[in-house]
Every structure is written in structure tokens, then in C-alpha cells.
């Protein structure tokens, strides 16, 4: 599946792989360690945000998203 910025396809692919594995194998079994894909997500997300700005896609509150928000960190 493509990403909004074609140049970031590989970053997205790595993140998706990590997330899909965690989601299928851990999430439904009440794994308390949380989402382990935080680092991959940060790198991928920076690229997505850049592509969204470049393509002028009207997502509101974009400037408040990102690693500094802290929500996507795993609980450890």
C-alpha cells in the first residue's frame, strides 16, 4: 500500500510490518508492554507530516502531532 509521499515507502513498510505483527500477536492478548514500534513510527510520521504539508492536505492540528506529544511512546 502506498504512502502519501512515495519517497518514504520503505519507512512506512517497516512501521506497518512492526505494527501488524504487534497488533496480531500481542494486542488482543492484553500485552501490557504496549506498542513496541515507537521509534519506527516517529521516523515514518515525520515524513508523513512533511508530505502532507507539501501536498497541502487539509489535516487540522497537524502541527501539534508528532513525537513531542508523547502519546505514541510505549509504556516502558
Amino acid at each position: 500500500m502506498n504512502s502519501v509521499g512515495e519517497a518514504f515507502f520503505e519507512l512506512k513498510r517497516e512501521y506497518d510490518l512492526c505494527f501488524n505483527r504487534w497488533f496480531a500477536e500481542k494486542f488482543f492478548f492484553g500485552d501490557s508492554a504496549g506498542d513496541p514500534c515507537g521509534q519506527l513510527f516517529k521516523r515514518y510520521q515525520l515524513c508523513v507530516q512533511k508530505a502532507i504539508k507539501e501536498k497541502d492536505i487539509p489535516i487540522e492540528g497537524l502541527e501539534f502531532m508528532g513525537p513531542s506529544k508523547g502519546k505514541t511512546e510505549n509504556s516502558s
Binding site: F19, F23, I59
Partner: protein
């Protein structure tokens, strides 16, 4: 215009949700050409919140684009979902964020286990279509309503397709798991 539909899958809730999270690409929705995660988090009740951007290409001829007054190739949809693994409920809401001066399509999907049979999953789906402007509104709304009903049926087929694809992948993953372990151990020490 509101469209309500209910359908069920002959698969347990976990299976359907795993497929729903990986719904695209699939042959029944060829217009969805991109899916990106804008944000994702677990709340303190263990529910997974995802905020995603879907890119869709309708293949509109350029003359239609000129009439619509858009130079964009793609239409974008924002999607929020919440998966509650304890209560076994997935709720998904989406809305278009481009072409909003012409039309709004708001959809809400809720997946829950069938109340009488845990091997089945119920999907309730609601779509609210609002066409802006006056003269063509009721015609365009009924046209969109029939497209969305047909897409609701295709969406059902789409998940069935993803489920069988995931089952194949699971078999392949199990057989290569030993090769993955060193790579995953290395990745986890980076955290």
C-alpha cells in the same frame, strides 16, 4: 441522506478486526491508493486509537475535474478508529477532507461479536451524505446513496478477502519465525 446497514461475518471478532486494520489494498476497493497513519496511541484502558489518512483516486476525467474546480488528483479521507480488546468493540469514523465544498460523506462502522455466537461478528454501518448546494442535491444524494450501499457490500467482500490472505500469511510467518527471532531481539534492545 442516511444509509444504515448491518451485516455479519462468519469469523470471530479478533479475526475480523485484524483484517479491518489491514483492509487496504484489496481488489474490491481499487480506488484507495494510499493509507497513512497520522497518529496512534494506547489509552489507559488499553484501547488503541488510530488516526489515519486515506488517499483515493476516482479516475475522474480531467474535464470533470475542471468542472469540479479541483486540480487535485486524489481525494483524501480522514479516519479515526478505536479498538477495545476487552469490550471487543471496534469503532471507525471517517469523513472526506477534500471536495468538502461539494459533498460530505461521513461514515461510522462498528464491529462487535455476534451476541449469540462468538464465532460470528456483526458490523453496523452508517453513512451520512450531504451534498452542498441546492439544485442537484436530491439526485446526487440518491446516486451517492446507491454507490455507498454497493460499496458497503463490497466492503464485506473486501474483509473476507483480507481474512483469507492473512491466514495464508500466518502460515508463512510461522514457518519463518526462527529466522525472525535474532532480528526482533536486536530491534527490541534499541528501545
Amino acid at each position: 441522506t442516511n444509509i444504515l446497514s448491518a451485516s455479519f461475518y462468519r469469523h470471530p471478532w479478533d479475526t475480523v478486526i485484524k483484517a479491518a486494520m489491514r483492509k487496504y489494498p484489496n481488489p474490491m476497493n481499487p480506488c484507495v491508493v494510499g493509507v497513512d497513519v497520522l497518529d496512534r496511541s494506547l489509552d489507559n484502558q488499553g484501547r488503541l486509537h488510530s488516526h489515519r489518512l486515506l488517499s483515493t483516486e476516482w479516475g475522474l476525467p480531467s474535464i470533470v475535474k475542471a468542472i469540479l474546480g479541483t486540480s487535485r488528483t486524489l481525494t483524501y479521507i480522514e479516519e479515526h478508529s478505536v479498538v477495545d480488546p476487552v469490550e471487543k468493540k471496534m469503532e471507525l469514523c471517517s469523513t472526506n477532507i477534500t471536495l468538502t465544498n461539494l459533498v460530505s460523506v461521513d461514515e461510522r462502522l462498528v464491529y462487535t461479536p455476534h451476541p449469540e455466537n462468538p464465532e460470528k461478528t456483526v458490523l453496523t454501518q452508517e453513512a451520512i451524505i450531504t451534498v452542498k448546494g441546492i439544485s442537484l442535491s436530491s439526485y446526487l444524494e440518491s446516486l451517492m446513496a446507491s454507490t455507498i450501499s454497493s460499496n458497503a457490500r463490497k466492503g464485506r467482500d473486501a474483509l473476507e478477502w483480507v481474512i483469507s490472505k492473512l491466514n495464508t500469511e500466518l502460515e508463512e510467518l510461522k514457518s519463518t519465525r526462527d529466522g525472525m527471532k535474532p532480528a526482533m531481539a536486536a530491534a527490541s534492545t534499541e528501545k
